[in-house]
């Protein structure tokens, strides 16, 4: 029976009420005790652009700093809210329905003017709603209402006339609604008349957005030290020319106003302004904060935050009653999940193949067909009761064969090394060296070659897979919970969540993420195909006979030698969080610094790639072309075959016989 309450069902900030944002809030606390308030710094006059992948938590954070949440935190005490020294005015850009303002393409001046006017009226309404609340709740300020409104009305020229009795923010709000309705009507009518009739622009740009806060600051002492922060969320929903206008506001901002913009990584269409075509520069007109990058660069704090988030959800939905001590948090959460045990897997494989040849051994036997001494070679390498070592031996053989060593001699040497390893595992035997470096890859190959599914388990792994995007983590837990319940388990209540439920939950999340991260149109398909090619390529390397680097999940590229189109595709993959730029690498020969990318952690299960970041494969120009260039689509499979040929071993007995005879001669001479 599927449990009705899934504590992780809600994964989007949008699905939370303001009270729930407050209830479920988990701060990030860094080593130097910086939480979001220090990171976002809402009372700072410096504008900020908060960039992050979809699901990184931008809206959640921005809503947290909105007036509505300030009030909840301060238990509805407006005076305490004002003591924060900022007022968060939260606006969702999608609410403007910005696509009705003509079109994506550059709008003519008439449409720009209408949008500017509308934006002014829209923001003013949201600010006035907050002021209505403040003035109604705060007696001391209430006495100033008429006086301040007399000043604010003047900002509107002659279009608003309010009698003395009507001098309230409520009345002002009604006037603003009326102005807005008129513009809405005209915009809608444009669909029939192709003309923007009846819109007389009575308020110029910035008059209200800056003007109202300035008046409040000037005339009411409680507002004197208040930073008015317009929190503009979902900025990516605006057309480029609309963003250009708001960039202008940022550039020409006037105290006590500032802006915090929330936007997806791909969402900043321009930094240009209408101020003589100038562009806003980071560090000068604004500061940029890359949210998911911050999380990835502060792994411990991020991990702690997500674990707290998990516990908060479990407590709220009454799965647990007491919050574990922060020191025991990891331990407490780990106990809910079944752990993978390598011994169990090895035993399972052993039993599965007790009456038939193990597949990797069968593969080797086939490769050795026709080779002299093939039976002896197999005998040297096979270990009936230790599959891991057996596979390691074969790994070593393939590595030697890659260097054209004689297979029999190689297997003799491996057998000798094995004896050393079995006597004392601390020695520097070949097996120990390989297992120290390539164990995860060998175990992964064992899984795949014996048709066993690779497991993804444990809260630490889920956090790592989320790659700085909390929504991915929540989705993993949500899907795991569903599968666990479906399997008849009692997740987070009794028993452990099985490996199977964890794996299925992770796989579902991987599919969701891959399908969800979509660019519109043809480019979207190109980007997705590129990532699929990349995943397939990395998988090919991982399962090859000769694995060159351990735990390959990262790759470096010389972007300077690539065409603009390919660079754009790679950039798009990054902007949609399908790949992540994780580091840089100095090319020893050329001294050039190449970026290093990694597939997003949650996509790793789609292609059975390692989540760990150890080995980096250097992609040359041809590799990049075949992987990323859509024009090479039909050649990709051939390219992949050539990669397989390069890293898989083919044993040619004729060639080896000649080499062998030389080597034997040498051996005999030595003897």
């Amino acid at each position: 029976m599927i449990k009705e309450t899934n504590p992780f069902n809600i994964v989007k900030s949008d699905d939370f009420t303001n009270d729930e944002i407050n209830k479920y809030w988990v701060d990030i606390l860094s080593k130097d005790k910086k939480g979001f308030i220090e990171l976002i710094n809402p009372s700072s006059p410096m504008p900020m652009i908060l960039l992050g992948g979809k699901g990184s938590g931008k809206s959640h954070i921005m809503r947290y700093f909105s007036y509505e949440l300030q009030k909840i935190r301060k238990k509805n005490n407006v005076s305490d809210v004002l003591a924060d020294n900022y007022l968060g005015i939260y606006i969702k850009c999608a609410g403007l329905n910005p696509t009705r303002f003509y079109s994506k393409e550059e709008a003519d001046q008439e449409w720009i003017n209408v949008f500017v006017y509308y934006f002014e009226i829209w923001l003013a309404q949201i600010l006035v709603d907050i002021l209505i609340d403040i003035f109604n709740d705060y007696e001391t300020i209430k006495n100033n209402e008429k006086q301040i409104l007399q000043h604010i009305i003047k900002l509107f020229g002659n279009i608003i006339h309010l009698s003395d009795n009507e001098l309230t923010f409520d009345s002002l709000k009604k006037c603003l609604i009326s102005i807005q309705k008129n513009i809405d009507f005209s915009i809608n009518n444009y669909g029939f008349t192709n003309k923007l009739n009846n819109i007389k622009i009575e308020v110029s740009s910035k008059e209200l957005i800056f003007g109202i806060p300035k008046l409040l600051s000037k005339y009411i002492k409680d507002f004197k030290n208040i930073q008015f922060v317009y929190l503009l969320d979902e900025f990516e929903n605006l057309y480029e020319w609309q963003q250009q206008y708001i960039n202008t506001l940022i550039r020409e901002r006037e105290l006590p106003v500032t802006f915090k913009i929330g936007v997806r990584l791909y969402g900043m269409k321009t930094y240009k302004t209408f101020s003589g075509g100038e562009e806003n520069k980071e560090g000068s007109e604004y500061e940029a904060f890359y949210l998911d990058e911050y999380y990835r660069n502060n792994k411990q704090d991020y991990s702690k935050m997500l674990k707290q988030l998990c516990v908060t959800r479990l407590i709220q939905e009454e799965f647990i009653t007491e919050k574990p001590d922060s020191k025991n948090l990891s331990k407490e959460l780990k106990k809910y999940f079944e752990r993978f045990k390598l011994e169990k897997l090895l035993k399972k494989i052993s039993t599965k193949y007790s009456h038939r040849e193990r597949p990797y051994l069968k593969k080797l036997i086939k490769k050795l067909e026709g080779t002299k001494h093939n039976e002896q070679i197999i005998k040297n390498l096979a270990i009936e009761d230790d599959i891991l070592l057996e596979k390691t031996n074969i790994f070593l053989l393939y590595r030697d064969l890659k260097k054209n060593k004689d297979p029999l001699l190689s297997s003799n040497s491996i057998k000798l090394e094995l004896k050393n390893y079995q006597k004392n595992q601390m020695t520097g035997s070949a097996q120990k060296k390989v297992l120290d470096k390539f164990k995860t890859d060998i175990v992964a190959q064992l899984h795949l070659e014996t048709s066993e599914k690779i497991n993804y388990e444990g809260i630490d792994l889920f956090i790592k897979m989320s790659s700085g995007i909390p929504r991915v983590f929540l989705n993993i837990l949500k899907n795991i919970f569903r599968w666990s319940s479906f399997n008849g388990e009692d997740p987070f209540k009794s028993g452990k969540i099985s490996l199977e439920a964890q794996r299925k939950g992770v796989m579902k999340t991987a599919d969701w993420f891959f399908n969800d991260a979509q660019m519109a149109g043809k480019k979207g398909k190109i980007v997705k195909d590129a990532v699929t090619n990349l995943g397939t390529f990395l998988r090919t390397l991982r399962v090859a006979d000769t694995v060159t680097e351990c735990s390959i999940s990262s790759f470096s590229i010389n972007t300077a030698e690539l065409s603009e189109e390919i660079v754009e595709i790679i950039d798009s993959c990054e902007l949609y969080s399908l790949i992540l730029k994780v580091s840089k690498r100095l090319d020893k020969n050329t001294k050039r610094i190449d970026p290093i990318y990694q597939l997003n952690g949650i996509l790793v299960p789609k292609w059975d790639i390692s989540l760990n970041r150890r080995g980096v494969v250097k992609l040359n120009k041809d590799d990049v072309e075949f992987i990323f260039n859509p024009d090479q689509k039909d050649q990709f499979q051939s390219y992949l075959n050539s990669v397989k040929n390069k890293y898989n071993i083919k044993i040619n007995d004729e060639t080896n016989t000649k080499k062998k005879s030389n080597q034997y001669a040498l051996f005999n001479n030595e003897l």
Partner: protein, 316 residues
């Protein structure tokens, strides 16, 4: 508004439809595509004049166009309002003086919606509409109507906007969920902070289509899921009037709301229902029709002609 007063007739076959003496019009307007159910109907219908509208999304070359009707083709007019306005500017006819019928089967949904809205703006009071059901969709539950990767953006349909509230705390998005799950995802994603309600076509056009519809819509589950007040509604896939009634019911069930967005992504008959609800009850309210605009649509997705429906549309 009581939509049950609207009149509809069901014809079991094309022959029944053609043989009905009431089915004669001064102008018969259809949107051309390769479907048998579109082509055969115009070919056989009794009308003084037959107009083919060539929708740019079908991307026809001039040599691919039919020759059994008057062609109105504006390939450069991508926006629905520009296209339909140009058509009416060209025909220069007072539709109030004539018996007019439109075959909605081949229309792009955004063009259909604007067409009806345009009629209202010109105070046209009555029009007949017909809709031909297919026997089946070619690729069953995998049938795609829009061409892959041709999505441009989610946009409000011209003339179908509202007067919006700055309070977005209880915004609602009603989606007429069809087979195009990608389009459902785009629309849902464009209005993230809304409560999402789906209207499924049930009864469906053919018995198996309901399951096919559910299978496809489930692929958009992640965009629609997680919302606490998520609920499904049902309206016959072939009945615009019941669809309009259901929308009325949804609005009442979820009142008060702050803004309401309608997005018809299912059958043309349901789409007609969405726009009827809009023109009768939603103008000048915080209600609008939004739609995922695509560059291209497939010219043929169905097989055969099953039933034909005739709707007598009355407009405010």
């Amino acid at each position: 508004m009581d939509y049950t007063i609207f009149y509809k007739v069901k014809y079991e076959t094309l022959d029944h439809f053609i043989l009905d003496n009431d089915n004669y019009w001064d102008i018969f307007i259809s949107a051309y595509n390769d479907s048998e159910r579109v082509k055969k109907v115009l070919e056989q219908v009794h009308a003084e004049k037959k107009h083919w509208l060539i929708m740019p999304e079908y991307d026809y070359d001039p040599n691919e166009l039919p020759n059994n009707g008057q062609i109105y083709s504006y390939p450069n007019l991508k926006r629905e309002n520009n296209f339909i306005q140009e058509y009416f500017n060209n025909i220069k006819i007072d539709l109030n003086q004539l018996q007019v019928c439109i075959d909605i089967t081949g229309f792009m949904r955004n063009h259909l919606i604007y067409f009806i809205r345009y009629l209202v703006s010109k105070k046209i009071k009555k029009i007949d509409a017909i809709y031909s059901e297919p026997t089946t969709y070619k690729a069953k539950e995998d049938t795609a109507f829009s061409v892959e990767d041709s999505f441009i953006e989610v946009k409000q349909i011209a003339g179908c906007g509202g007067s919006y509230s700055t309070d977005t705390s209880k915004d609602i998005l009603i989606i007429g969920s069809g087979y195009d799950h990608e389009l459902i995802k785009y629309v849902a994603d464009s209005k993230e902070r809304t409560e999402k309600i789906q209207v499924f076509g049930f009864p469906s056009l053919q018995p198996d289509m309901y399951q096919e519809n559910l299978l496809r819509a489930s692929k958009a589950e992640d965009e629609l899921d997680g919302t606490k007040h998520y609920k499904d509604y049902f309206a016959p896939a072939y009945d615009p009037f019941v669809t309009a009634s259901v929308l009325q019911e949804i609005a009442a069930d979820n009142s008060p709301y702050t803004n309401l967005y309608l997005s018809p992504l299912s059958t043309k008959a349901q789409t007609l229902g969405f726009v009827l609800y809009y023109v009768w009850e939603c103008i000048d309210k915080p209600i609008s029709i939004i739609f995922p605009i695509c560059e291209k649509y497939k010219r043929e997705t169905s097989i055969g002609i099953s039933k034909i429906w005739k709707y007598s549309i009355e407009l405010p």
